[in-house]
Symmetry: C2
Subunit: 336 residues, 2 copies
DNA sequence: CTGTTAGCGCCTTCAG
DNA sequence: CTGAAGGCGCTAACAG
């Protein structure tokens, strides 16, 4: 920047003022000479230095469980869509639902002095995790950092969300309305807060219909397609439900594939429902009945919340997104 | 850090030396006191300051076309898997195949003084793009930055890749071997280098078999499912091929969905093949015959190349990954 | 409106 | 082995 200032025949301060878009008045003459010099030299201000001086890095750290899971990938897209135009860059990392890994990622974000940390990965129930996280984030906030949650999380932070339990109940009711009485559930990983919420919704809907969710009707898995397939195999062997509510679309895809491979006809013999409505849902082996969460918009709301907080606001209530039932070919009347 | 030094009863220099893992000798006594003090205070070194002092930010910028495209999401996962353990954070951004946007993203990366820029987004043929990119990256390299390409790119950079044309030819041959004679191609966006390569492979295979790829057999699209479906509609109307080679899996999913919706039986009436073998391929409406690119491993190789270059190495030859034909249910013998 | 002066927090010669 | 001093590139009072 010294070079730019020299080339423009002004002091570094003046150069800095025009280059940083400061509100401080600068004559038009000086301004244009600086701009020209910067362009001629291909000058690119060093943001590290700027961040050090201003205590604002224009950087946001995002923690997801797995970038390659479409659920998270879509949310990241939304975050990026609003952060980018505001000239903020995103650090993206996958925690693999591992407490130790997640904590070290968050610590790294703090070290990088990100302006905000977005926890889109659902909270873990691992012992000690919450305390450690709280400790790290306390220091982060003391440094002026902002924290936003985008999932069920025991850590108290401004949050953009949607009603997991309610949505799960909604789709379960859809199956009940179709006449199903034995409805199984493919639950998510037990250490995730979100798994519990979705399972609760499923149970609540059953209870309200006077049905019982015996323990043999719930099978825990992992949020993946293969795991969904194997969990379905166990569930069918044990309880032979006529309908299955999966805790996410990926598991539902696995269920569809497994049932089809077994020669089960869908939805004539068994109905299957998912959760999230990722784009593939409409292209699955059988078009999937599911709950649509507008993921990209959800991500955008998350970033908008970040910027509001960064600007000193404190939105009340926190934003949220409305899930919606999407009925496709994988659900139908219960077999008679 | 001053606080840590004070608490440990040493100078900042000494504290810095132990906290930064410097090779400079420090007595065991001092070392342990510093470590203890840092832990007690929950000290997290400011990497911005460190980066400013060392000219190494431990940060890598990644440009993809779209994070929410599984092809890129999987690659990012691989990059992350090796960058994370080496304590480097990833900036991830989507260019949307827009030259102006991509250039501004790259500019932001140099402003953030990333140590390396990974171009996993395929090169654009937009006029002026290459020159502008070259200018920016030249300055970046003068600053000590490293550039790695992970796709067909006119910009000359160390590259980890795979044989796009060859793989495309391979899968086309598979269809020819099944007796197909009228084979259509769903090409990618014409402004992408990778689209041309994959189309070339398709054409080469046809030519070698003495078949002709009339212009009506190739339909350009966009690398998405919906676009794949509409391109398929146009292609079927116009040329009614008995087999379709899509430039990526997403387009193939769209093709499957469209054909199925039209009551076309797959593969009895029409065979469909994809490219990439994203995880969903096995769970699509019809399990997809495709070319497997080990995407996560590919991503890992990209990051490893980055670190080799950062360490001053100049690997020769550049690493690459071997595609493999995966035959599933979407391809079968040509109808007689 | 412009320039001078201090740092931001850390690393790194350079003397001790 | 330890500490003092200077600087990485930029911003932000503070005088002019």
């Amino acid at each position: 920047m010294r070079d730019v200032a020299r080339a423009a025949g002004v002091s570094v301060s003046t150069a800095s003022r025009v280059l940083s878009g400061s509100a401080h008045p600068v004559s038009e003459a000086a301004r244009s000479r600086v701009t020209a010099a910067a362009a001629a030299l291909g000058f690119e201000p060093n943001r590290l230095a700027r961040a050090l001086a201003t205590a604002r890095s224009r950087t946001i750290g995002v923690v997801v469980h797995d970038v390659s899971d479409p659920y998270f990938a879509d949310i990241i897209r939304g975050l990026e869509d609003v952060a980018g135009p505001r000239d903020h860059a995103l650090f993206v990392t996958s925690s693999d639902r591992d407490a130790a890994k997640e904590l070290s990622l968050v610590r790294a974000f703090v070290a990088h002095r990100v302006d905000a940390i977005v926890l889109v990965a659902s909270g873990l129930t691992t012992p000690g995790y919450l305390d450690d996280l709280t400790g790290i984030l306390k220091r982060f906030k003391d440094l002026g950092g902002v924290v936003v949650a985008m999932s069920e999380h025991a850590y108290p932070a401004p949050r953009v969300g949607f009603d997991n339990a309610g949505s799960s109940a909604m789709i379960t009711r859809h199956l009940i309305d179709l006449g199903h009485r034995r409805i199984g559930h493919l639950a998510g990983p037990p250490e995730l807060a979100v798994s519990a919420s979705r399972e609760d919704g499923y149970r609540r809907a059953l209870a309200e219909a006077g049905l019982e969710a015996g323990p043999d009707l719930v099978e825990c898995g992992w949020f993946g397609m293969e795991e969904g397939a194997s969990a379905t195999a166990r569930l069918m062997d044990r309880a032979a439900p006529t309908a299955i509510v999966a805790a996410n679309d990926l598991m539902a895809f696995g269920a569809l594939r497994h049932l089809l491979d077994q020669g089960v006809s869908i939805p004539d013999q068994v109905s299957v429902a998912g959760f999230d409505d990722i784009e593939f849902a409409a292209y699955a082996s059988v078009p999937l009945t599911t709950v649509r969460i507008p993921l990209t918009q959800f991500g955008r709301l998350g970033a908008e919340l970040v910027f509001e907080l960064l600007a000193g606001g404190s939105p009340d209530p926190w934003p949220s997104v409305t899930p919606e039932l999407v009925i496709r070919g994988s659900s139908g009347r219960a077999p008679t």
